[in-house]
Each structure stands twice: as structure tokens, then as C-alpha cells.
Symmetry: C2
Subunit: 408 residues, 2 copies
């Protein structure tokens, strides 16, 4: 039957309507609270317009949320010259509910606390464990970091945990099917997390899938229907939003851009194949190109910036061209309006943007190429972490009443 599988994550109101089998019956309370979460504050008039319901319905729903302590309402100072009584402004109460977001990257693991409405209030970072049993050790690390943020079992208002990993994640249960750069195959990560932190609603997602979600809801892709987010660390991954909705594929594995074969006789890849795109534009390839072998993160970004001055301009241009060719393949396939480059690829775009664009234009058909912009993440280095928070909010706010009653 047409219609979305439960594992899909919606990207907005229309998307949510599409996902649920009985869209008209979706509780309006959830829709209103999600509007407040994404937009912060809205007037009653704006809510009425966005929800397509009448004023008294909005008033009733707002009163219900106010009684549950999750919204407040106030009359704004009168706008100069505006006639009539200004519409009441409704805002969410940020401290009423919080979620923890975590980003497991190859080098470091970051954990942060996000309040309702999307603000980040605290952050911790530690080196990511590797080797045998790294799944369980990362779970222990996360539990420690979460406790450290003051969000243990007794902390009021902390209701969920979203975790981003650089790998193919089965959304239904958070099993990490394949994360070559963590050395994982079929790691039951979601199960381990839920066991360790039973008081939290746990969601595990692919890093790029969560990056595109955050950029689409709160970043440079806000209001853009068709977006690709390319995460660039040791591995290269992709997150897709098409028609305003996350495109996760049949099992949640869509967006594995890094493993496109772009050169059949190319370098061996950690996935077992040869000539994958990530062997040409992943962090190790970029580091080799700019004569900064083994460097990562901010050091590597600095090496990219200084590449031309150090006589590595041509090698950088070759990487940038290959980046553009791969983006061109993606553009030919799904015709997005915006491609957001994350991780170290941000720096390649800043330092060699013309070459990236030239590779794209040489590969994509003109009709699709002329529609697409390349952009830096609006949320900068926090895009993936913010997405890990958003994916939990989406699940929790889809049916907020039991949650609000339990935490009242």
C-alpha cells in the first residue's frame, strides 16, 4: 500500500500528515506543540493560519498546553502604528522538557543537552573508544556523559536520547548494520543504549540523516524542499530530504553516497569495494592531497586553507573536482535544490569552491545543475548533534499528551 513505513521520520507538518495512516485524526495538540518547538514563538493568528483550523480551536489547544506547563501566552507590546489589539503570542517553555543528543564520530564523541525549542545548554566531549567491545564501551561512555550533564534517572524533564553514528542504521531498532570506520557490523547499539538508560526514549540515526534533518528544520535548508547533506569525516555519508520529507529508503539505509563507485580501478575502500567516492574525498584522501597525512578536524581544515600557499593547490583542486563529480552524480539522480557540505568538506568548499562547482557542472545535466546551490551548514559543526536532538523531539512530540502528563 502507498504511504510511509513507520521507520520514516517526517520533516515538517505536511510530512507528518503523510506518514500517519489517518492524517485528519492526528491530534491537533501535537501539531501545535511541534509548531512552537520549531518556531519558538508564534501569535495565535499565525497558529490559526498554519494549522488551518479556526481561532477558537487554537485558543482551546493553547489553554490545554498552558495548563500542562509547556506553553505560555502573553500580549506583546503594541507594534507602532498597528491598529486593533495585537494577537496573543504563544511560546513553548524551554525548560519544561529536555533531550540529550550525542554524536559518535571516529575521533570524538560529543554529548549535549537540548531544551524544547532547540537551544543547546551544555556539552561534553570525550575520545571515542575503538577496538573489541567498542559498542558497549561507547554506551558506558555515553551513560557517563549523560550523568555528567545532570540528566540521570532523577533529573526532571529529560525525556530522550538521540545518537548519531557514522554508519548504516536500521531505524526500526537502532541496530548499526555497518559502520566500517567504527569496525561495527550488526551492532545492537539501540538495544544496548535502551538497556543502559531505560528512563530515556532512545533513537539512533545515521549522522548525515540527522544532519540534513537539522539543517532542514533550523539551518540553511529551512524552507527548501529537496536537500542533500554530505557529511565528510573519515567516511563520507549523505542525508536526503526530498519533497520536504526525509528520504531514508526501504530500511533506513539511503544516502550512502560515500560508497558510489566513481572509479572502478580506484583505491580499495574499507567497505570491501574499490574506487568508492569516499576513497577520493574522505578526510584521509584530503589529508594526503594537502600534505597533512593523518590530520583531522581543525588541523586538517587549516591545512586545506593553507594548501595553495604550500604548493598543494593542484592536488586540492583535484579533490575538489572529484567532490563535484560525485555531487553531480547525486544531482543527476535526485535533482535537489541545495547540497550542504559538512565536516571537512566545508573547508574544501570554502577554499576550492570553483573547482567543486566545475566538477558538478561537468557531470550533472544542465537542467538539474542549474537548479542546485552548494552551501555550508547553517548550524556549522553542530548540525549532526542538533539533528540527533530533533529526531527524538519528532518521536516524542508526535503524541505529547502522555509524556506531558507523566512529567507534570
Amino acid at each position: 500500500m502507498p504511504g510511509d513505513a513507520p521507520a520514516r521520520q517526517p520533516g515538517g507538518r505536511a510530512a507528518i500528515a503523510a506518514r500517519l495512516p489517518d492524517a485528519p485524526r492526528r491530534p491537533s495538540l501535537a501539531v501545535l506543540l511541534e509548531h512552537l518547538h520549531v518556531s519558538g514563538s508564534l501569535t495565535r493568528a499565525e497558529l490559526t493560519a498554519r494549522m488551518g483550523v479556526n481561532r477558537s480551536t487554537v485558543a482551546g489547544l493553547v489553554a490545554e498546553l498552558v495548563a500542562l506547563g509547556v506553553a505560555v501566552e502573553e500580549r506583546p507590546s503594541r507594534a507602532s502604528g498597528a491598529a486593533g489589539r495585537p494577537s496573543l503570542v504563544v511560546s513553548s517553555v524551554p525548560s519544561r522538557l529536555q533531550v540529550v543528543a550525542a554524536e559518535v564520530a571516529v575521533d570524538n564523541t560529543a554529548v549535549a543537552l537540548f531544551r524544547l525549542g532547540g537551544s543547546l545548554t551544555a556539552r561534553r566531549t570525550a575520545p571515542t573508544p575503538h577496538g573489541p567491545g567498542s559498542g558497549r564501551r561507547i554506551v558506558e561512555l555515553l551513560r557517563g556523559l549523560v550523568d555528567d550533564l545532570g540528566t540521570g534517572p532523577d533529573a526532571a524533564g529529560v525525556v530522550g536520547l538521540g545518537v548519531a553514528v557514522p554508519g548504516a542504521v536500521r531505524r526500526s531498532d537502532g541496530c548499526v548494520r555497518f559502520a566500517p570506520n567504527l569496525g561495527w557490523t550488526d551492532e545492537p547499539f539501540g538495544h544496548l543504549l535502551a538497556q543502559a538508560m531505560p528512563h530515556l526514549h532512545v533513537v539512533v540515526g545515521n549522522d548525515a540523516d540527522l544532519g540534513v534533518l537539522a539543517e532542514h528544520r533550523r539551518g540553511v535548508a529551512r524552507g527548501v524542499e529537496d536537500v542533500v547533506f554530505v557529511s565528510g569525516d573519515v567516511g563520507v555519508g549523505g542525508g536526503l530530504v526530498m519533497g520536504g520529507m526525509p528520504l531514508l529508503g526501504a530500511g533506513g539505509y539511503a544516502g550512502e553516497l560515500g560508497h558510489m563507485t566513481v572509479r572502478p580501478d580506484g583505491l580499495p575502500c574499507r567497505c570491501g569495494a574499490r574506487g568508492c567516492w569516499e576513497t577520493e574525498v574522505g578526510a584521509p584522501a584530503i589529508a594526503r592531497a594537502v600534505s597533512a597525512p593523518g590530520q583531522r578536524g581543525e588541523e586538517l581544515a587549516a591545512a586545506v586553507r593553507s594548501a595553495r600557499a604550500r604548493g598543494r593547490g593542484e592536488a586540492l583542486a583535484a579533490v575538489a573536482h572529484s567532490l563535484g563529480v560525485g555531487i553531480g552524480n547525486v544531482v543527476n539522480l535526485i535533482n535537489p535544490q541545495l547540497v550542504v557540505l559538512g565536516g571537512v568538506l566545508q573547508e574544501v568548499l570554502r577554499s576550492a569552491g570553483d573547482e567543486v562547482r566545475a566538477g558538478l557542472d561537468a557531470t550533472a545535466l544542465r537542467a538539474a545543475a542549474e537548479q542546485v546551490r552548494l552551501a555550508l551548514p547553517g548550524l556549522g559543526a553542530d548540525a549532526v548533534l542538533a539533528g540527533a536532538a530533533e529526531v527524538v523531539w519528532q518521536e516524542l512530540l508526535a503524541d505529547p499528551l502522555p509524556l506531558l502528563q507523566a512529567t507534570a
Copy 2:
């Protein structure tokens, strides 16, 4: 804003609900008629269940459609042993409305008449004109073929024309942005067709986009949410259905699989780039591989079948492997459940399916690879033509009342 652009074509009821800004207000008459069109006959009880409305609402809507002459209702012969009165069976009236579908391929242009409910009743074929002015000449050819089918301006009940072309089509106005194998760039094909046949509702679409639509509604992909259709003629194109909905991209150009760069130092492509997938798996490449240069269509298919016997097994296997690698790239990117191979690629799948699968499995990550099946089109050679009919039905049946009143 989230939500689909008007140019997107829905792929079922949930998809239609998602597309319209006010899903709950979408006229139920349209939903019911679409169910009858896709399914042929349904009992009142089935309609009640599928539409999620009550029995009296269904009874009222059916009465309205019967009065308009587009549906009939009858009591079935009693099912053996079933207790109680059997539910009334509602059927569409196939002759009440018809559309013309056309498929402009590089060699031949086919035109067929489809009745409400999807049955094909008549067909004409002619060689496709090429060279200067081929756009206008194809429009004239189509007008002649349409007249020949007895569907001129005076023919009752023929209400639309859907045309499939092998190129990138701007869905909003039917402009063919790029069709290298027809020699077209920015050909205002939709405009010319509408001028020549003002009595018909005209829709122009990419051949593979229409192929996947038909296979999803009536073919091997019925009930499958995430599907790729690969059309293989001189050019190689793709049509995508994701989450039950056609994925057309920002401008309608998604699915240009043939122009993925799969070998940077490969053969020059008619698009101007080098090493595009279609230079390795398009009909000319297949013909070279099986020592049947210049052959097309059924001749080429026969040559593929006899390739092993004629000592061309290894060359065929190489093509099949390259076909699998490209499919693997697509699988990594969007994680479909089903890839349907059309045109001459059907024969490659039949004759060298193991090699295709091996190329796919060597390229796609296991999590995504193990979810995907390869299949032949359920509608065979008629998939694209049937899709050209379906895309017109979708637009016409979205608001059927004015149409039914005008043709009563």
C-alpha cells in the same frame, strides 16, 4: 515550506493526501473514483475500509458517480456459504472516459487508447522523425495517430493525452529541457502539443518516470513502496518511487541514472561528459558487446539471448557487471526494495542475471543490497505507454466533477 510542489505526481491515496495542502478537504468523490480506476471493482465494504469513511458516505458518493454515468453498482452472485447479504460491488464504466497515451522512443513512436480502469483498446506505431524541426514533426505525427484512433475533436469521452519522451522534462509545462537522443534542448513540446490538440488535457513526462508510475500502480511494483525503474534504450533513464510517491526532484529531472559518471576516463557521452553509465549499458554498448552493431529492439534482444552461443558470453558478462555496479550505486543512494529493468535491459537480466546481481552485490553495502530485488516489468513492453496514460488519469481524476459534467 514542507509539502509537495504541484509538479509532483502522486502514486496512490496516501501520496495524494500528502500532495494537497488541505488533505482532509480533498473531495471524497475523487478518492473513490481513483480507487475504482486503479482497482476496477470494489465492494462497498472495501471502499468503506479503504477510504476510512462511514457506509452512508460511501453510498452517497457511489450514487453520485452512478448518476454521472461513470460507475455502476450490482449485487454479486452469493458467495457459497457466506452468511448475510453480500456487499454491493461498485465498478467504473470503462467506456465513459478515455485517454490517449504516446511513447516517443528513438526509433518508433507508439500511440494507444486507454479506457478508464486502465485497459488498452487500440494502438498505432510509426517511425519517429529526426533532424531539424523534429519537435513539430512529432507533434504532427501524434495528431495524425490520435485522429487515426478515432479520437479527433468530435470523439466523445476522450479527455487527455499523456506523452512519454526519453529526456529531462520540466513537468510544470512539458518543456523538454534535454533529450540528447532526439537532439532536443529546451524543446517546448508540451506547448506545441496543447496548441495542436486543444481539446485534450496534455501531460508530458520522462519515459522512465512514467514507467515506474505504471509498474507501481498496476505492475510488478504494486504495493512496493520504494522502487526504481531503469529504462534501457539508446539512452538509459530512471524513474523513482520512494515512500509510495514518485520522486521527481526539484524540477522534475530526478532519475537521470544514465549520466552517472562511473568511469572518469571512459567513453564520451552524448551529454558532453565522459564515462557516463549509459556509455557502458545503453543499447549501442550492448550491441557492440554481443557483436550486433547497430541493432535495436527485438533484434538486439535476440542477439543478447544468443550471445553465449556465439562466443560473446564474456563481453555480455562485462556489460551485465557494469549494469549491476550502476544499480549498486543507486541502491547505496536511495535503498529501494525493487529495481525494475525495462527495454533491452530486460534481456540482459534474463540472460546474465547472475552477473548483474554480482555487480550489484560488489557495490552496494550489504544492508541495502540484501533488501533489493531485481525484476522484469510486470507490464512488459507497455510499461511506459501505460504510465503515460496513468499520469493523465491522475491529473484528471484529482477533480473529476467538472470533467464528468462536461462530458455527460
